[in-house]
């Protein structure tokens, strides 16, 4: 199922939640909508799901206009942040719900439904728990139930709204891998919303970065991380040190910091340097090391420049001893944008 979103607009009061958003999603793709809260990512997901309707623009499923079709008619599977399980039903009844409410000849037989439920519970590794109630499960297990309930109706698209947001870090990590595995096993086109850039970069085939109701950049995790298209993407995806300065003749200057900026237009500019893109360099600018905090194989270094500005540097743990006292730094790579 391919999905096309064409200049979709949606407003809440006077505040635009989506401002002429366009996006193409390929069949079988796993796409992340990444952005801070209020960026419109959940609204966009709900518009795709048919839980919310846009004021302008079009949503196409396989080139068919579904802009105002109901969620049921679109055959989407939706997974909510807070699970939204039916508390008064057992796990098995929850998973079977979408098949149970079908009518006439569309409705599978009891045996078929039971077989399908068993198969799905096995897929999410919950076999044997079909008789429990949602309140008897952990958060991670509940989200697995929600996932298999959404998959039960063989949806054309699987949509997940911050699916791991309410879970703790270790469960989140394992469930993330599991979603990838399930996506690869079923091949269903999947879109998930997250504010966690690490999650988006690890899990998705492509990432769409949203800010203030607009898509700032769409690309593979590497593209978005290594070649950010805007200052916002640079600051939001991955960590970065920000410098406000001036470009002149292909060189960016902010106080003592001098960075190569080939091709950048002259004038006031903003430069971003990732913490791991700094290196020791005798021809660089001077920095005084304040603190070195080892963290696993890496070490986080806090440094103060000649004009008092602070920067963060990440180095390999083995190189950490060389970062002491006064050092000279330069950057391997920087991203310069006109201010």
């Amino acid at each position: 199922m391919t999905i096309s979103i064409r200049s979709v607009e949606k407003q809440y009061g006077r505040y635009p939640a989506l401002n002429k958003v366009g996006l193409e999603i390929a069949d079988g793709e796993l796409l992340a909508l990444l952005g801070p809260s209020g960026s419109g990512k959940t609204t966009l997901l709900r518009v795709i799901a048919g839980l919310e309707f846009p004021e302008g623009g079009q949503v196409l499923f396989n080139d068919q206009d579904v802009t105002f079709a109901s969620a049921a008619a679109r055959r989407v599977g939706f997974v909510f942040q807070q699970y939204a399980l039916f508390k008064h039903m057992t796990v098995a009844r929850n998973v079977a719900f979408g098949l149970d409410v079908r009518k006439g000849k569309d409705k599978p037989s009891k045996a078929e439904i039971t077989a399908r439920v068993d198969e799905l519970l096995k897929l999410v590794e919950l076999d044997g728990l079909g008789g429990r109630y949602p309140s008897q499960l952990s958060g991670g297990q509940r989200q697995r139930v929600a996932l298999s309930r959404a998959l039960a109706v063989s949806p054309s698209v699987l949509l997940l709204d911050e699916p791991f947001g309410a879970l703790d870090a270790t469960v989140r990590k394992s469930l993330r891998r599991e979603l990838r595995r399930i996506h690869d096993a079923t091949g269903v086109t999947t879109i998930f919303v997250t504010h966690d850039q690490e999650e988006a970069l690890e899990l998705a085939d492509r990432v769409a970065v949203l800010n203030a109701g607009q898509i700032e950049q769409v690309g593979t995790p590497d593209e978005v991380h290594d070649n950010p298209a805007s200052p916002f993407v640079c600051g939001f995806v991955g960590e970065a040190n920000r410098f406000d300065g001036v470009v002149s003749g292909g060189q960016f200057t902010a106080g003592p910091v001098v960075l190569a900026a080939p091709g950048a237009r002259d004038g006031p500019s903003i430069a971003y340097v990732r913490p791991h893109d700094f290196l020791l360099d005798e021809s660089g600018f001077e920095a005084r090391i304040e603190r070195v905090a080892p963290q696993g194989p890496l070490a986080h270094v806090e440094a103060v420049l000649a004009d008092g500005r602070r920067i963060e540097v990440t180095v390999a743990r083995d190189d950490a001893p060389r970062f002491a006292g006064l050092v000279k730094l330069s950057s391997r790579r920087s991203h310069v944008f006109a201010a």
């Binding site: 049921a72 939706f78 939204a84 039916f86 508390k87 719900f97 949602p134 309140s135 309930r149 109706v153």
Partner: protein, 295 residues
């Protein structure tokens, strides 16, 4: 979370302080005053509830078993129970339907005058029951504003069991509405959206997702309205007509026995009603225990 529990337990076990041993006898609480508050609570409960109720049983025990049965289950008393329980049941069922609608309207929609309607729902709680009784009797009497329109249709809405039921509907409505409201408000919108996204029609969503989720609260509200209806006196006697065997409620029969100085007989009828009240409480608690299964 389980890990956190296990760790706390271990820390306690390893701790050598005597506090842990004291905890075996009396659980230490960060909130002081347990002894005083429990003492006051028990005293008040005894004075207001337990002693008067046991007095009913003691008074009724003055009669021999045969006398007790004769007084508690005379033809007239049975007719009164039938009316009290029957009318209360019908009123509670009607309140169950309209109370659900009222709660739904108040929770789900915004409309002008909502605050006024919200306050009106509580009126039966606040209004002196005699005032309600007189007002209802005046309205539904054959020459009253509403009664006058019902008479040509052949419906007599006052001074008979229908009148009793009308008064009990008035009295019981807020119990259903106020029990359902918080549950309905807590029912997350995403559950209904989930049902819709799975292909359920609006009707199927309400029947299979919303109403089952409300069932425990609805049953509790129903039982509360029912229990209140059985004991209601003030508002009913003005509209009931109070004809023995026809429109005489059980609480009124107790008063009549008292006025005839038949104290033991009055206590016998009271004891039957007391027993039924306990039964209702038991049912309400059972419903709530059943509901906790999901939450």
């Amino acid at each position: 979370m389980d890990d956190a529990h296990a760790m706390t337990a271990e820390t306690y076990a390893a701790s050598p302080t005597p506090v842990v041993r004291r905890a075996l006898f009396r659980r230490r609480s960060a909130i002081p005053g347990f002894g005083v508050t429990l003492g006051v609570t028990l005293t008040i409960l005894s004075l207001i509830v337990l002693i008067p109720l046991s007095a009913v049983a003691i008074k009724a025990a003055e009669l021999s078993p045969q006398q007790f049965l004769a007084a508690a289950f005379s033809e007239r008393a049975l007719a009164a129970y039938r009316l009290s329980f029957g009318a209360a049941f019908v009123a509670a069922v009607i309140n169950g339907v309209f109370g659900l609608l009222t709660a739904w309207t108040l929770v789900r929609y915004e409309f002008p005058g909502k605050a006024v309607i919200n306050a009106l729902v509580d009126l039966p709680f606040a209004l002196p029951t005699a005032v309600a009784g007189i007002a209802l009797a005046t309205l539904y009497a054959p020459n009253g504003w509403i009664g006058a329109h019902l008479t040509p249709l052949g419906i007599k809405a006052a001074y008979n069991p229908i009148g009793v039921t009308i008064a009990l509907i008035f009295i019981g409505l807020p119990f259903v509405v106020r029990t359902l409201e918080p549950v309905l408000r807590d029912l997350a919108a995403d559950v209904e959206e989930a049902a819709a996204s799975l292909g359920a029609s609006r009707l199927a969503t309400i029947l299979r997702v919303v109403l089952p989720a409300l069932a425990p609260a609805w049953l509790t509200g129903f039982a509360l309205a029912f229990a209140r209806g059985i004991g209601e006196y003030g508002s009913v006697i003005f509209i009931a007509g109070n004809m023995p065997y026809k429109s005489e409620i059980a609480p009124l029969l107790i008063i009549i026995q008292l006025e005839q100085y038949e104290y033991a007989a009055a206590a016998s009828i009271a004891l039957v009603m007391l027993g039924f009240s306990f039964l209702m409480l038991l049912v309400i608690n059972a419903v709530q225990a059943w509901a906790r299964r999901f939450h």
